[in-house]
Every structure is written in structure tokens, then in C-alpha cells.
Amino acid sequence: MENREFLLRRLHSLLGIIPIGIFLTQHLIVNHFATQGVEAFNNASHFMANLPFVIFLEIFVIYLPLMYHAFYGLYIAFTTKNNPGHYSYMRNILFVAQRYTGIFLVIFIAWHVFETRFQVAIGAAEANFNMMANILDNPWMLAFYIAGVLAATFHLANGLWSFLVTWGITQSEKSQRYTTYFTLLVFIVLSIIGIRALFAFI
């Protein structure tokens, strides 16, 4: 097909928001129940883990879109020649950060899934408050998780800005500037939610 690259890129962009961005937001909010105590978190997590057809939800809403976005994202990240040194404009620096956070997220998400969902799947652990409390007991792991949460919230917030341009929604310089402020707010709010949840486990 002639427009193959165009369609693949647009799919990459779309999946970043729907469903991955929505999933990430939901995931951070559910985790935030940890701030209300062990039971509140366990109830929320139990509810999510027992949704009907959960394995299909996971495959089609999380694994496949995320894998497509991640692997195509790696390809995009490694076909750019970053130049933030000489061209140190704000947007260019955010462009570079979008790529570095993406690469870091591949590592973080792979480890995070292995350590949690995979262990549950092979029956080596149970998904509950204690599992996360054990993981985050290690200060290195806590630092790694903080970095992971911040990378994800930055990548989603800045990706939202980029998504709005990619689909031609924000065109004028003014609208693009105002969405920069808006996405900064998204980054701050999601980061607070995510970090608060992490500290609730320790």
C-alpha cells in the first residue's frame, strides 16, 4: 500500500492515547487507592483483576497496542539524530526527552510487568498491597519506580501535545503554546497521583 508509512505512524500516534494513555491514567488512579490503606487498594486491584474477559482486555487494550507503540517507537527513536546542543529550543528539548523517556519506558515496563503480572501469572505471587510493599522496600527499586512513573507521565503529557499536532487539531502557534501549558498541568497532576501512590506502599 502506498500510504503504509503514513497509516502506521498515525496508528502509532493514536495508540499512544487510545488505549495506552487512557490505560496509564486509569492504572495510576487505581494505584492511588493505596493512599487510603491496604484494604482500599486490595479491593480496587481485586476489582480490576476480576473484570470479565480480563485476559482479552489485557491483550487487546494493553499488550498488543503497547508492544506496537513501543517497538515502532524504538524504531522512530533510533532513526532520529538528536541535536539539542546547537538547537536548544524548548520544543526540540522536549522532542529529545520524548525519545529518551520512551526508550527508558521499554526497560521499565518490561521489568515492571515481569516483576508483577508475570509472577502472578506463573503463580509465584499474588497481586496485592504486600507485593508492591515488598518491591518498594528496596530504596533502589523505589528510585527506579519513581523514575518510571515520571518518565511515563512526561511521555504521556508531552505525547498528548504531539498527538494534537499530529492529527491537525492544534494548528496555530497560539493553540500549540496553550496546549504546552495544559500538558504541563497534565504532567504535574499525573505525577502527583503516581508518586503519592508509590509512597503509600512504604
Binding site: 502506498e2 500510504n3 508509512e5 505512524r9 532513526t79 532520529t80 526540540n92 522532542f95
Partner: protein, 256 residues
């Protein structure tokens, strides 16, 4: 009297031909008031002696208009791509480092081959088709306000600075860069050009087209003509979104 004569120091990344390795050469020349990079290069050409006192080959570069309208003299000056004819020595930090725009094949020293830009303009059909076997008469009129707006886009001189500044235009990608995309917006805005707008939109939806833009926005920061490149890219993003659906769901009409 007695004061040491003021000088200017240049460091130039040179190479003898496209396939040869580059090397740096340093020159020190007498300062003159209001000199620019081109007048300095002319001085080096007149007296090609480097700071080691060795006679060397004159540095080659490209130029034409000397007033920032042809784009031929573009090069990387202290790390940033720009026109050398309007680069005033007084405003530059020394030593002044000159490099070719290596996004393009380097012909020799500071001369690059920008053919790929002209090929891209052909690829995206950046012209208004009016040729026919008979006189087609006058085309539709363009509203004056729109003409004034389009004039800004038409200032592009294909200098290549926006491609050099773009992190996505490189040897690992076939992205055509901002300039030809902006030309598509210009040609599509023309009343006669818009009759074939879908052909141009489909062209930039091909390999290395619009979708390869990652919104670093270096192009709009760097364009010497102040062309609103990123607004054009976002506007084209919207038009290609519509075109994408039209291609799939649309009826059998030729142009919409």
C-alpha cells in the same frame, strides 16, 4: 598607534571531495569593519595561508545573491545552519567555525548538493498545472488577503536550513523535511492549484512524507524567511487526516 592589528579567527571544516575525509583548517585574517562571513572567505581566497603559515588551497563555497534571497550560501556557522552572506562577523563568537550542511552530500569544502530538495518538490508536485493543448483561459481569482498570506509561504528559497536543523532529516530516514511540505500548502492554496490538491496530499502521505515529522519545531525556529512551517505542517496534518478517510470511505469523485 602601536596597538596590535585586530584579527578574526576562522576554523573551517574542509574536504576535497564528497568521499574524502574532512579536516579542520584555521585562518587568521585582518579585521575590517562590517565584514561578513563571505567577505572573510573572499579574503581567504585572496590569500590562502593558514595559521601555521602554510599556503593552502582556497576554501570553496557557494553564493549568488549576497542578500539572503537565493539560499545558495547556506552553511553551518558556529553550530547553526544559516546564510553566510548575512552572517556579520561582529555578531559572531570567535573562533568562527564554518561547516558544510552535512545533511546534504558535500561537494567540496562548504559546498553542498541540495538536489534532493528539488527532487522532493517534483515528488510532491509543487507546481500549478496550467499546460494543455489549448488555451484554458483565465483561472479563478485569488482573494487579496489570501494572496498576501500566500506570499509569505512563497518566500522559501530552498536554502536547506530547515532540513539541516531537523533531527528527522538524516541518512537513516528518507524524510523530505519542512520546505517541500510548506510548498504543498502554498500550491494547494492557489485557486488553480487546489484543483489537484488531493494529488499533492497523497504524495506527502507517501514514504518519507508528512508522517515522518516528529514536531521538534527546529525548522520554524531556523527558517531565515520566517515561514510558519509548523503551522503549515499541522494544517497539512488535518488535511491528510481528512484525505485518509476520503481515500477509504469516499465516493468516486476525483477531487473533493
Amino acid at each position: 598607534m602601536g596597538e596590535a592589528a585586530k584579527t578574526v579567527i576562522f576554523e573551517i571544516e574542509r574536504r576535497n571531495s564528497t568521499d574524502e575525509n574532512s579536516y579542520w583548517e584555521k585562518f587568521e585574517l585582518p579585521y575590517r569593519a562590517n565584514m561578513n562571513v563571505i567577505s572573510a572567505l573572499m579574503e581567504i581566497r585572496r590569500n590562502p595561508v593558514n595559521t601555521e603559515g602554510k599556503k593552502t588551497t582556497p576554501v570553496t563555497w557557494d553564493m549568488n545573491c549576497l542578500e539572503e534571497v537565493c539560499g545558495a550560501c547556506s552553511m553551518v556557522i558556529n553550530g547553526k545552519a544559516r546564510q553566510s552572506c548575512t552572517a556579520l562577523v561582529d555578531q559572531l563568537e570567535q573562533p568562527i567555525r564554518l561547516q558544510p550542511m552535512k545533511t546534504f552530500p558535500v561537494v567540496r569544502d562548504l559546498i553542498v548538493d541540495r538536489s534532493r530538495m528539488f527532487d522532493s518538490l517534483k515528488k510532491v508536485k509543487a507546481w500549478v498545472p496550467i499546460d494543455g493543448t489549448h488555451d484554458l483561459g483565465e483561472g479563478p481569482r485569488m482573494p487579496e488577503r489570501k494572496r498576501q498570506w500566500a506570499y509569505e509561504l512563497s518566500k522559501c528559497m530552498t536554502c536547506g536550513v530547515c532540513l539541516e536543523a531537523c533531527p528527522n532529516v538524516n541518512d537513516k530516514s528518507d524524510f523530505i523535511g519542512a520546505a517541500p511540505l510548506s510548498q504543498v500548502r502554498l500550491m494547494n492554496a492557489h485557486p488553480t492549484g487546489s484543483m489537484t490538491r488531493d494529488e499533492r496530499l497523497n504524495a506527502i502521505m507517501g514514504e518519507g512524507g508528512l508522517a515522518s515529522c516528529g514536531n521538534s519545531q527546529n525548522c520554524v525556529e531556523s527558517c531565515p524567511k520566517g515561514i510558519p512551517l509548523t503551522t503549515s505542517i499541522a494544517a497539512l496534518n488535518r488535511e491528510t487526516t481528512v484525505q485518509m478517510f476520503r481515500n477509504f470511505f469516499g465516493s468516486d469523485h476525483a477531487v473533493g
